[in-house]
């Protein structure tokens, strides 16, 4: 499954990456699984996406939880808790 991943704010800076296209293995079906899978990259990835750290997620521009399903061609995003207003 091919998806696009966007990173915002401090997460984008820490990872040094704004956007990437990724071919995700078939067994990665949810946002929680995707987060765990990205952590396997190690280094800044392991640290910034570690369990327990407040990371917010979106699938196709809707806030998502760890159970949210990935769909083909999805635009998913990882970002820190929001601070607008």
């Amino acid at each position: 499954m091919k998806i696009t991943i966007l990173y915002f704010a401090s997460l984008r800076e820490t990872l040094g990456l704004e956007r990437e296209s990724v071919e995700v293995p078939a067994e990665i079906a949810t946002m929680g699984a995707l987060r765990n899978w990205l952590r396997l990259r190690g280094g800044a990835w392991a640290e910034s996406l570690v369990e327990g750290r407040a990371v917010r997620m979106a699938v196709n521009r809707q806030l998502a939880g760890p159970e949210s399903l990935l769909v083909d061609d999805a635009e998913v995003a990882f970002f820190p808790p929001v601070t607008g207003g």
Binding site: S10, V82, T83, G85
Partner: protein, 169 residues
Amino acid sequence: MGQATSLVRVQHEDFDLTREVQALRQGDAGVGAVAVFVGTVRDVNEGSGVSTLTLEHYPGMTESALEDIAAQAHQRWRLNGTLIIHRYGELQPCDQIVLVAVTSAHRGDAFEACEFIMDFLKTRAPFWKKEQTPAGTRWVDARRADDEAAARWDESSPNTDRVRSSPAG
């Protein structure tokens, strides 16, 4: 009242409060109350001087998140109109950041919906603030108080809210 208005704008440019409120309630004689919130840039946060505030957002998702919040407000209260304007990019102390304006027949609905929209915006709209301080730049941390403020609105169901009598005003 006629068709309820729901407007959302995400822009770098400043906004004119008087003009925006005028446009929102123009020609609607059913409006008896206008509640407005304007958020502005402070020059001190967490004990440090702030010289520049940079707001990043998620284009595309930001607009739909704000539209969704406004739609929820229209469901929960009897509103004639809502307007949300949020700025992004580099801002200076004293600059305006955000405008929420709500019109309704009576003040109760307008006051509550305005606060609801701000509470949800603070916790659900994808904006992030970065501050320039004498010690360098830093991302603003989310505040627990904002989560608690948003959670208050979950306690009462939308249906209960809708039939609650509002004081005339």
